[in-house]
Every structure is written in structure tokens, then in C-alpha cells.
């Protein structure tokens, strides 16, 4: 083989590999969309390319009761959690990133450890607390319990981001006699917006997808969030699982996430690698 042929073969192999990577990543979701447009008998015939286009499943997903309010539940919980985490995290990360004080390393260690807590380890304790507060089956139980993963994550990532900002900015303000709160508001907040959007988005996705707490702390269909709702769609028997409905609901709750992730792709990657704490 000549050198040219070897190179040709190499790049051919490379593009095959690329095709495999793209195909395995996209095919399952493509198949979910395909299934969601099928109904009746054709659901049980395997197709690789679109054949039917029946939006019945989408209509029945919304007609079947609580789906719309379940989406609102998820939006509400995730939004409130993100806002609360960001408010607490901005000031905390300023203290942790910009001020050297004794005990800072230990604090960061604690925060990192909390972000690695297995959720199950706090489940029974939280359950008892939530019942004692009268929050069982209330969305506030989720707002409350989700802080356990969103807060350490946002603090950690914002601290990493804030550390990178040049110290001169701050020194000048200190010389002018600015108080820390003013420094945060006037100097760091404007610079930190991109980082806050990124961490906020990642925390939102995490809260949107959470399953264990939502499964445990909510007990009625009207209160459930979408992941639990989707997990609970079932038929009369094992043989009557309404796959068309499940796939339609899945597509509805996933498409916005995929669009967000694609739109903020670069920022998300930098946020993930800066945090490297949560997947």
C-alpha cells in the first residue's frame, strides 16, 4: 500500500468511528420520537424510519389528567431551588474565593463532601423532618430537600469561577473604601453573570431530573413532578404498557432540556469541568 492509501484508510476508519459515536448517541432519542408518533397496532412493529405521524399520543398525554400541572410542578420546584441556591451561593462563594481566613480549606472540604452525599443517606432523616414540618406531599418538601445537591454544587462552581477574576479590581474598590456587599454587587455580579447562568442551568437540570426525593415525599398525582409521573405511567397489565404515551411524555419533557444544553453547550462544558462535582 502506498502512503496515500494508508492515509485514506485511516481517515476512512476515523469517519466510521465518528459515525458510530454520533449514531449511538442520537439513535435512542430518535427512536423515542419515532415511537411517540405511532399508535395502535403499528406500535408493535419495529421501524427504523418514520412511517406514521399520529399526534394522538401527545394529545392524550395532556388529556389524561395531571400532566400539564406536573410540568408546572417541576418548573416551580426547579426554579425556586435555583434562585435560592444562587442567592446563597453568590455571597458564600465571595467569602470562600476572595478572602483568606482560617478554616477555609475545611469549609471547602465539607462542601465537597456534602455534594458527594448519597441521597439515600439523608432520606429517612429528611422524611421524618418533612413530616414533622407538615410538608409531606407539598412541593416545598422538594424545594427544601433539593438544596442538598444544588447548593454545594453552585457554591463550588461559583467559588472556582470567582477565584479566577483579577484581584486588582477588588483592591481598587477596597482602597476607595467600598464595603464587601458593595464589592459583590458592583464588581463581581456583573462579571459573574455568565457563570451564574451556567451553574443555574446545571442546577435546574439536576432538580428537573431528580427522582428519589420526588418519589418519596410526594404522594398524589396532582403534586408529582414529571420524572415520577413518567415512571408511573402504566397499563392494566405488563402487556398493556402504553408505550406511545410514555414516549410522547418523555419527548415533551426532554426536548426543552436538549435545546437548552445545545444552546449553552460551551458554557455547560466549562461549568461541568470547573465543578467536576456532579454529573
Amino acid at each position: 500500500m502506498t502512503r496515500k492509501q494508508v492515509n485514506l484508510l485511516k481517515s476512512f476508519g476515523f469517519y466510521i468511528l465518528l459515525a458510530v459515536i454520533v449514531l449511538q448517541a442520537l439513535f435512542p432519542f430518535y427512536y423515542a420520537i419515532l415511537t411517540s408518533f405511532k399508535s395502535g397496532q403499528s406500535l408493535f412493529e419495529v421501524d427504523y424510519f418514520p412511517r406514521d405521524f399520529d399526534i394522538k399520543n401527545y394529545i392524550s398525554a395532556f388529556e389524561d389528567g395531571y400532566f400539564f400541572s406536573q410540568i408546572l410542578n417541576s418548573v416551580f420546584v426547579a426554579t425556586v431551588v435555583v434562585i435560592a441556591s444562587l442567592v446563597l451561593a453568590v455571597t458564600a462563594s465571595y467569602g470562600l474565593a476572595r478572602i483568606r481566613f482560617r478554616g477555609r480549606g475545611a469549609l471547602l472540604f465539607t462542601i465537597l463532601s456534602v455534594s458527594m452525599f448519597p441521597q439515600i443517606a439523608v432520606l429517612s432523616g429528611l422524611f421524618a423532618m418533612i413530616r414533622a414540618f407538615g410538608l409531606f406531599n407539598s412541593l416545598w418538601s422538594l424545594v427544601f430537600s433539593y438544596m442538598i445537591f444544588t447548593l454545594p454544587f453552585t457554591v463550588w462552581v461559583l467559588t472556582t469561577f470567582m477565584r479566577e477574576l483579577p484581584i486588582e479590581l477588588e483592591e481598587a474598590a477596597i482602597m476607595d473604601g467600598a464595603k464587601p456587599l458593595t464589592i459583590i454587587r458592583r464588581i463581581f455580579l456583573p462579571l459573574l453573570w455568565p457563570a451564574m447562568v451556567t451553574t443555574g442551568l446545571l442546577a435546574f437540570i439536576h432538580a428537573w431530573n431528580e427522582f428519589l426525593f420526588a418519589l418519596t415525599f410526594l404522594s398524589t398525582d396532582a403534586q408529582r413532578t414529571v420524572p415520577v409521573a413518567i415512571a408511573m405511567i402504566s397499563g392494566q397489565s405488563e402487556f398493556e404498557v402504553p408505550w406511545g404515551n410514555i414516549m410522547a411524555a418523555s419527548v415533551i419533557v426532554t426536548v426543552p432540556l436538549i435545546l437548552l444544553v445545545l444552546a449553552f453547550q460551551r458554557k455547560i462544558i466549562s461549568g461541568l469541568t470547573a465543578g467536576a462535582v456532579k454529573g
Binding site: L43, F44, V46, G95, F101, F117, I120, I230, A231, S250
Partner: protein, 317 residues
Amino acid sequence: MTSGSGARQTGLIRQRTRSAWMFVAPMLVVLAIVALYPLAETIWYGFTDASLNSIDSARFVGLQNYLEWLDYGDGDGEWLGLLADERWWQAVWNTLRFAFISVSLETLFGMIIALVLNKQFAGRSFVRAAVLVPWAIPTVVSAKLWVWMLHDQFGIINDLMLTLGLISKPIAWTASPDTAMTAILIVDIWKTTPFMALLILAGLQMIPRDIYEAARLDQIGPIKLFRKVTLPLVMPAVLVAIVFRALDALRVFDVVYIMTPNSDETRSMSVFARENLFDYDNFAYGSAASTLLFLIIALITISFIYGTKMDLSGDKS
């Protein structure tokens, strides 16, 4: 701020330290309420006889949930408690096996994808976006989706494998004990490989270009280049990624709970704990199991942070 002295500066430092604590305090209070206190409660319930309806009147029973000798009174007896519970050890074994296999394969595939994405080619940003898609799909959705794709009669995976002649009759992936774990692994690896790939890619991109330039001039072959240059340099990033994924895999719940409920072959420690807490009316026992899982994960975390001498304070940089 450098060593400049004077009362003004010391006062300033003291004031800044005070404000640092003031800024950190609200976050710490919230963390203590949502994490430390419930954790302490969980540990406490593990030492009690709490059941779902008697949580408030739980009594201390010592180590009974962990290990207890039940004396029959006739000189015979048996060991009871988690440490003598075969189902618990089965769950421990399932979880460890799951974590080991999934993290190994994710590292391998993540490395391959990262190496591909680290090259320059037309459409690279499209491929990078595509790779992110499985990660963006909620776990519940991907679990359901794969249950459907792995369906024994109507599933596309069986159809594909039959067409390709890889199998002669459909496999009941999630229902059969032999393949249940494989099914779980497929979903988890599919979903979390992107995360691994991104972390490794970030590590690859920190390697200075001129090292490769020099290697090219020295005519070092690609395999040797990977072994001697790329791999050692990217290793720290890979190790961090492995540990984070491993901790995540050890607490696996959603995929197992949705894909193979009630399967002895796949029941993870988290699933075991939740079953006891809420399905079997064994609140104390489930709490004890949760505590053990927490201990395992805490040990790994601490040894990792010490082992890698992680620079937490950021003072060195």
C-alpha cells in the same frame, strides 16, 4: 494583599475575615439543616426500632439492626441483622460489580470519544453537541426508553440483533436474571459516558501543543505517543473523573428501580435501603443500610481527597 504592615491593614484583614464568615454563614446554616441534621437522624434511626408509623416513638435498640445473636433458648440460635443478611450482601455485591464495570467501560469509551473530539475535523462542534444528548436526557426517561428498546417481543435491539444474526431468538433483557445487570449497565454507560468524555477532553486540551510538535519531529509513532505522552499527562484528569463517577455509581438508584424492580440480580444498596424504609415497613433497618452505604462512600471520598492531595483552599494557585 502582600506583607504591607500597619494597623490599618491588620484591621482591614480582621474586618474581611469577619465579613467572610458572615457571607458563608447563611449557606452553612442551610446545608446543616438539609444535610447534616438529616444524616445524623438517619444514623440515629439505624440504632432504633423505628417503623414507618412509629418514627416519633422510636426506641434505642443498640446494634440490633446491624448484628444480633438471636438465642432460641435451647442452646441454638442464629445471627440476625444487616451484617448477617444475605440479601444485603447480594445488594453490596451487585452495586460494587455495577460500579466497577460501568466506570471501567465509561472510562474506556470516554477516552475514545475524547480523543476523537480532540482532533480537528469538519463538523466537530456538531459531534460534540450530539455526544451531549444522552447526558441531557433525564435518567427516568432514558431508563424507560431503553426498557422499550430492550423489550423482548417488540424491542428494536432484539430486532436488530436477529436481523444481523447475532442471536437466534429474542432475549428478555430486563426480565431474565442473566441479562438484567447487562441491561442496567447498557443504559448507565450510554447515559454517563458523555460526562466522562467531557472531563477527559478538558484534560486533553490542557496538554501543551508543542509537546506533540516535538514528538512529531522525533517521528514517534501514534501508539507510543499515546502511551508515553498523552496518557501520563491526562491521567490526573482521568482519575478525578473516575472517582466522581464511581461515587455516583455506588449510589445508583433510578435506573435499577425503574428497569428491574424486585430483581435480586440488580438490587443496589440504595434500592435495598429504600425498599426497607418504605415498602417493607422496616424503617430502622433501611436507615441502618443507608448509614452503611454512607460510610462506604465517605471512606472512599476521604481517602481520595487525601490520596490526591487535592488543593481545596486554592492558596497554592
